[in-house]
């Protein structure tokens, strides 16, 4: 196994490439962190007990992925700040998750729609880093993909059930897709200097190409269910502008840390 240090202090890692890699890891970690916290809000109140356990478990998986990505980022930065510091010690504006994850929990259909849009997008992105030239990221992504495969299955099962049930289930799903659709593709917001990442083989393709793959995969499902495909997103501030629902969530998940930064938990 490649050690994190040896791979990340390689001489070919120029400051520009290091910064670009930082941006890639931070965007992936923040996505997992925010959707993990957002979905954990269902713990105790999901529509049925089994789904309560399933959704809480999915949320835990996402936080686990976020933790591993933050640890990788902490090793890359090597500036004395650990994964928790990166996860919790930022202002809301400093988070780089996609705006798709910024809509608040909403009802169950919102959660299903968000999970479906995000999980399919995330799995396409993971595919693009599965053969990354950065060993530690490649090794981590190999493990993450094994769990994300189930996330996509679970999200797809719910998505298809809501879409296929006329009346309230489908109406709520359509309303959720109308609210989330315009932000769905923000997962593919181009990263700063991403051409350097592609050139170095850290990711296989630019975000725009990964988005095209994602759309091609989504189209058959959306067509089969007669649902509107997510429109082109405004990517200018896809990961930098966060609204009120995220400020509320941030306040929740940083509460303990701000109250007692050295608390052991």
């Amino acid at each position: 196994m490649t050690t994190i240090r040896s791979a990340l202090v390689a001489p070919e890692l120029t400051p520009e490439l290091r910064a670009a890699l930082d941006g890639l890891l931070l965007s992936m970690a923040d996505d997992e962190f925010v959707i993990g916290f957002s979905d954990s809000e269902w713990t105790g109140i999901a529509p049925m007990l089994e789904e309560d356990v399933a959704m809480s478990s999915l949320a835990q998986d996402e936080l686990g992925h976020a933790q591993a990505l933050y640890q990788l980022l902490a090793a890359l930065r090597d500036d004395g700040h650990d994964a928790d510091a990166i996860a919790y010690d930022r202002t809301p504006d400093e988070y780089r998750h996609a705006r798709l994850l910024d809509h608040g929990r909403g009802d169950w259909a919102m959660t299903v729609a968000r999970r479906y849009l995000y999980d399919t997008a995330d799995s396409t992105r993971l595919e693009a880093v599965a053969s990354s030239t950065f060993g530690p990221l490649r090794e981590l992504v190999e493990k993450i993909r094994r769990e994300e495969r189930y996330h996509v299955m679970h999200a797809t099962a719910w998505f298809e059930r809501l879409a296929g049930r006329e009346g309230e289930p489908r109406e709520r799903l359509v309303a959720a897709l109308e609210a989330l659709g315009p932000d769905a593709a923000t997962v593919f917001t181009p990263l700063d200097n991403e051409e350097l990442l592609v050139e170095a083989g850290a990711i296989a393709e630019p975000m725009a190409a990964i988005e095209a793959r994602w759309r091609a995969q989504l189209t058959p499902t959306f067509v089969a269910h007669g649902l509107p495909m997510p429109p082109t997103a405004n990517l200018a501030d896809g990961r930098t502008r966060h609204g009120e629902p995220f400020r509320w969530l941030w306040n929740e998940f940083t509460l303990v840390r701000r109250d007692d930064p050295v608390a052991a938990w």
Partner: protein, 119 residues
């Protein structure tokens, strides 16, 4: 897991009636028999499998799961069929004493009692 949804879950009556119990069987390690683990409520087989995975394998305690719709299980609990009133002790192994016969057979063949676990 109960068969009835708690009052605070399940939403409309229609959605509640579409849920049904599924029995979950799990194999703890390769080669073990499938053992009943418990049950989950789910609207169909796909979600039943997902929920069985969450309930009975998320701590790596299973290598295989089966889910069976409870309605597909045929029940036999008739005491007249299962616990007959007549003496059936002759059908039990205890009703047929082997020890002396085995000892005699061994003596006849000149072989000692096998040591250790029987194959």
């Amino acid at each position: 897991m109960t068969d009835q949804l708690p009052a605070d879950r399940g939403g409309t009556a229609e959605s509640a009636t579409s849920l049904e119990p599924w029995e979950v069987f799990r194999q703890e390690k390769e080669g073990d028999p499938m053992r009943h683990g418990g049950s989950v409520m789910a609207p169909d087989a796909v979600l039943a499998v997902h929920y069985a995975r969450e309930m009975y394998s998320r701590r790596q305690e299973s290598v295989r799961l089966w889910v069976v719709r409870r309605a597909d299980i045929h029940d036999l609990d008739d005491p007249d069929l299962l616990q007959p009133p007549m003496d059936r002790s002759f059908k039990k192994p205890g009703g047929y004493v082997m020890r002396e016969k085995l000892a005699a057979a061994r003596e006849q063949s000149g072989r000692a009692k096998p040591k250790g676990k029987a194959k």
